[in-house]
Amino acid sequence: SGINAEYVEKCLEILESLVCYTVKDVKCPDEVSPVVKTSVCSKQDGYEDFLAGLITDACMKVMPVQRTFNVDSVRTCKILGAGVLSSTCFRGMVFRRNVESDITCVKDAKIAVFSCPFDIGTTETKGTILIKNAEELKNFSVDEEKLIENQIKDLADAGINCVVSGGKVGDMVLHFANKFNIMVVRLMSKWDLRRVCKSIGATAQPNLVVPTPEEIGFCSKVELDEVGDTTVVVFRQERDETAMSTIVIRGSTDNIMDDIERAIDDGVNSVKIVTRDQRCLPGACATEIELAKQLMQYGEQTAGMEQYAIKKFAEAFEVFPKVLAENTGLKANEVLAKMYNAHQGPEDINYGLNLEADTPEVMDCMERRVLDPFLTKHWGIKFAVNAANTVLVVDQIIMAKQAGGPKPRKGQADPDDE
């Protein structure tokens, strides 16, 4: 019982034959953006052109030459205010933080990153400072200050004009940083620190020493800016191959921004899929109808009871155009009729449902650039079939529930009953 593995094989075979388009160059935004657009369209109708452009832009900026595309390279930052159409993207990173130092803008920044607090070093072991005479007491804090001053001076001498710290910034240290014109930014999250390191090419130091030239990061501009009502620190990178790009999401409510973030997430994943497998299928239910039609034909040619099963399997694919039509406000039956009509010849596989018309109409997906990635459909079908099989094989459900009978007296609750 269940759906035989053969039918799935046949189905996937047909799917491969329906590939209408292969992305030739994943670095070209025009080729990739239709795929992103289709994915975003179903989440955020109305903003899909704008968002698709934004997402493609962000991904292109971090598309690596050799390695696989990493979705973590595209970050988002949500800032309340304005509207979705004011969202922007650029190379580098944005954090909703304020700078600690007086200096708020550094051009051509050489950045040292510290994962420890940017403060006077303390020992983990509990210790007591032993003072033997009055002279030592007097010189104690002066010496401490001199030590810090020298440390910061060394940093400044190495050319560092910006420090990013993963922990607290001490007052004394900040004072000397201001004196030597070093900008200090504190990041709250360990992950943010790691991403900054990746983005600027720095290595995080675990204690307050001067980093070697390889460990120092570089950034075109680090500055404090105000977007909407929020102050943000922007690490901007102008050179070509960057590790990170950030999309600044604007919106009038938190809900909208969260939703846009999810849509962007989906879009970026679509780009990742396309880099793995460049084949694309026609969207707008063209693939589904074609699958239904071809599987139906295959079913007719099969002998035995399996004929019925295959035909029903094929019919199941019709649910997509039906639901899509109903959601748009069209009549499902008319839509199905029109689509089958359009898919008569072997060359007519690209006809999908045109949602912008008031009456059921078909359109050429290749022309209108409505494409779906191949892997999405491929895995979708596989997983769905697995799930359906799991459920169909079940013939009895046994579930534990509270039994009847007298309730146990309070205070003597048997732990087994909880």
Binding site: G83, D171, G228, S252
Partner: protein, 546 residues
């Protein structure tokens, strides 16, 4: 939604439990209608605050704190609305406040009206997605129109620019409590914003509140002013007025204290003991000595300044103040120059600030320290006076709105005419645009255009005029091509608002339209609400049927 499981031919259908016990769900068209109705109720609550004749609301919160306000965002956040869809309206008011500062009531009303106009179409069965698409189209068109209609005042002429800013500030204050003194205040607000630097940071304008006096006693200090902080003995002997003093800002505690908390002193004989005690005193004296040597006459510190230090300074005619608030200290540094030091070794000339005059004056019931005539003056302080605390709080909010408006106007200096003029013009343009579109969208864009008329209508209602008569006149005038005709409060009639100097920065309107449309589209696209039983929300039983 509910999974259908076929039993193996047995008669009993197992009960299908998909969500937790006590979960509340409602879906479908009635759900959208109920959400729209909830939003209408929110709009009802604040519609009377719009415009120059708008009224204020008095809200007592759970801690029995009384707030009187006219500002839409403040009222909505204090109302503590629990209905999930209506919370979107609170959010957009907040975002309008963050982005622009003013127009929060406008944005809420627009959103509510868009939804109200859409309601009959939803009840008739039009798919909400169609409505959302048409609204977005209409908004895009409206924004384009605003960009065409807006008037840019040239930035290079400072007199003209100042004039423009004053008018914008005055229009913003028109609807608030301080409307009667709006000339006085708009002058002050523009002065305040003009003295900020290019980033126009809001925290560089300090606002201090002192009860007593009247509204017109409010003063703008082109420098810094803050309340006198707690001071130890010896304070009275320090002089209270200085001319051209040097100012030193510190982050050190000037008090006899342990150098290091976990340090231990181990000594061998009694003489050493006395030496150690002496050294502790000497450490403090050395610090004080260094400060005196630097030539500073005024010493401010974030941390406390103890009585020994206070006395020391008093003997040498130096003023000191400890426990100064961080932002006051920041502003002082910004105004007078110098930096906040954490050590007194090597105090350089550049680390100290200077100003022309420092004095400690009595304002109302409090003593204030005032620094004026600062050379780098990139900050200023507003000292608000007034009768009651609530009054002063409301003044602060109104001034905050006006300051935000002026800041926005400085950054992008295009204006449109207020008083409902721009809304009527957009309405007219949208109606003619709608006629060029075929299909259901035509109806919906016309509905959108009609919704825009709510602003002038509400302005009339609040003022007690006959809205129908005035709107008729406005429509006629706009159809004849006079694009800046709007409501005139003083003459109970229509007038050219551009000539009458009722101006608003165009970004207020642009942002309001965008935000209202987004909120409306969000609510229209919800067709099912699922409420988790764990939340403490006690739904009034009438809610689903509203």
């Amino acid at each position: 939604m509910a999974a259908k499981m076929m039993g193996p031919g047995m008669g009993m259908q197992p009960r299908i439990i998909l969500l937790k016990e006590g979960t509340d769900t409602s879906q479908g068209v009635p759900q959208i209608i109920s959400n729209i109705n909830a939003c209408q109720m929110v709009v009802e609550a604040i519609r009377t605050t719009l415009g120059p004749r708008g009224m204020d609301k008095l809200i007592v919160d759970s801690k029995e704190k009384v707030t009187i306000s006219n500002d839409g965002a403040t009222i909505l956040s204090l109302l503590q609305i629990v209905h999930p869809a209506a919370k979107t309206l609170v959010d957009i008011a907040r975002s309008q406040d963050a982005e622009v500062g003013d127009g929060t009531t406008t944005v809420t009303m627009l959103a509510g009206e868009f939804m109200k106009q859409a309601k009959p179409y939803i009840e008739d069965g039009i798919n909400p997605q169609v409505i959302i698409r048409s609204y977005r189209k209409a908004t895009a068109f409206a924004l384009k129109k605003i960009a065409e209609l807006q008037v840019t005042v040239k930035k290079d002429d400072p007199v003209e620019q100042r004039d423009l800013l004053k008018k914008c500030a005055a229009t913003s204050m028109c609807s608030k409590l301080i409307a009667f003194n709006k000339d006085y205040f708009s002058e002050m607000v523009v002065d305040a914003v003009m003295c900020l630097d290019t980033y126009l940071p809001l925290n560089m304008i300090g606002i201090k509140k002192v009860t007593g006096g009247s509204l017109t006693d409010t003063q703008l200090v082109k420098g810094v002013a803050f309340k006198k902080t707690f001071s130890y003995a010896g304070f009275e002997m320090q002089p209270k007025t200085y001319k051209s003093p040097k100012v030193l800002c510190l982050n050190i505690e000037l008090e006899l204290k342990a150098e290091r908390d976990n340090a231990e002193c181990r000594i061998d004989n009694v003489k050493d003991y006395q030496e150690i005690v002496d050294v502790e005193w000497n450490i403090l004296y050395e610090k004080l000595e260094k400060m005196v040597q630097s030539g500073a006459k005024i010493i401010l510190s974030k941390l406390p300044i103890g009585d020994v230090a206070t006395q020391y300074f008093a003997d040498r005619d130096i003023f000191c103040a400890g426990r100064v608030a961080q932002e006051d200290l920041n502003r002082t540094v910004k105004a007078c120059g110098g930096t906040i030091l954490a050590t007194v070794n090597n105090v350089r000339e550049a680390d100290m600030g200077e100003c022309e005059l420092f004095e400690e004056i009595q304002i109302g019931n409090e003593r204030y320290n005032k620094f004026t005539g600062c050379p780098k003056a990139k900050t200023c302080t507003l000292i608000l006076r007034g009768g009651a605390e609530q009054f002063i709080d409301e003044t602060e909010r109104s001034l905050h709105d006006a300051i935000m408006i002026v800041r926005r106007a400085m950054k992008n200096d295009s204006v449109v005419a207020g008083g409902g003029a721009i809304e009527m013009e957009l309405s007219k343009e949208l109606k003619s645009y709608a006629k060029t579109i075929h299909g259901k969208e035509q109806l919906l864009i016309t509905a959108y255009a009609k919704a825009l008329e709510i602003i002038p209508r509400q302005l009339c209602d609040n003022a007690g005029f006959d809205a129908t008569v005035i709107l008729n006149k406005l429509r006629q005038k706009h159809a004849q091509g006079e694009k800046w005709m709007g409501m005139d409060i003083t003459s109970e009639d229509v007038a050219d608002n551009f000539a009458a100097c009722v101006w608003e920065p165009s970004i207020v309107k642009k942002n309001a339209l965008t935000a209202a449309c987004e909120a409306c589209c969000t609510i229209l696209s919800i067709d099912e609400t699922v409420k988790n039983p764990n939340s403490n929300y006690k739904a009034p039983s009438a809610m689903p049927g509203m």
